[in-house]
Amino acid sequence: MQSDLRKVLLEAFHQANGGFVSGQNLAEIMGCSRTAVWKHIEELRKDGYEIEAIRKKGYRINKSPGKLSGNSILLGLETKMMGKHISYHESLPSTQKIAHKLADSGAEEGTLVIADEQTEGKGRLLRTWHSAKTGIWMSLVLRPKIPMHQAPQLTLLAAVAIVQAIEDTTSLLPAIKWPNDILINGKKVTGILTEMQAEADRIHSVIIGIGINVNQGLEDFPDEIKETATSLSIEEGQPISRTSIIQSFLKHFEILYNLFLKEGFKPIKLLWESYAVSLGKEIKASTLTGVLYGKAIGITEDGVLLLKDDEGEIHNIYSADIEIS
């Protein structure tokens, strides 16, 4: 089935809000015969949708598939741009690589690459991120028309959107560790890595790569990260819908992104600070060239971390791994 027609079909069901849509109606919307509509419905059934058909009433979707797919994300997605184009894969080495390729070939802003499983997830400096089938592994393509030095602020913005999505779908209280790690009860559930392609003064694309531990059990984590990592379902004590989190993230991201483009980093900074766990605490900042100890006293208007050492000297931290003591 052509994915465009499928999108139209799913959108029609979404508009009906769980109600029936007649075959005639669908045929008109999709611009095809009622027999063709029936074929499309069959395709959706094969994908795991439970669709009820009643004579004279039409079709309705009783249940969307539990497994992750582009369609299940599109159904009920409340955005204008973010996630409107989805490239779904059962297994990928890395969603970032595919997103780069799509961005190079002109993919629209808001294009989302998503994989059920990542075999070579990228962490900072290529450290691999454990990417089981029970997590969310996705990359979002952006084309912001902003000065290049503002682009790093998008990573803080993404963290706020994820925190809001977790709050929407669970009863958990997520916190952000500078710049954009998300912690629950002190353990990491989300990693964000952003890559930018730009020339001179023009940004081609910013690709935000996000990994969220959702339904992993304790046994899914390798021993070396058991103490420092967790999943949403471990913390919540029940399974969480990956589709709901993705939809909620895209919704919040779109709102924050539009706000950022219009009003700059200021409103985002206030939200970020309200979730920040590292501020006011003694921290250790490790960089490639050395280690700094001190108190995290805040972030600048640009999102740069301010660390005050024992001598009272204030350091601007642009990149470091932060540990809270």
Partner: protein, 162 residues
Amino acid sequence: MKVQEIRELIKLVDQSTLDEFEYEMNGTKIKMKKNSLQPEGITVQQVIPKEALRQEEVQAAPIPQPAAAEKPAEEKKTETAENLHKITSPMVGTFYQSPSPETDAYVKAGSKVSKNSVVCIVEAMKLFNEIEAEVDGEIVEILVKDGQLVEYGQPLFLVKPE
């Protein structure tokens, strides 16, 4: 007097409001004059007496004859200022010469690059900015160290364009 010092003098005079400059020390005499019709034109004359040639300082400089003094200084100057392309950092952040500490650097001195070659990464707040060469050519010099914090506009590489 070394070529380096002459070059420095030219630069200073060039940027100043002086029209003429004369300098004499240990038998070495330099005279510079700006042509008011062509502001960028500078003439250099270096007169080296025979006895001065014996001095180590002068022998170290690659100036066999006084007459040749004008040329190398001028050429060197234009090469750094105009012929070499500077790749600068578009933002404040950490300079990484390789994708990870375990892998090789993207480029080293002598590497051939094309416009779209990635030469390094500048990272801030976990945003990784792949910096491209922007010209076809050869890397002449890497001006910063791995892991160093770089400023906005700071030169990172010198490239000899092809």
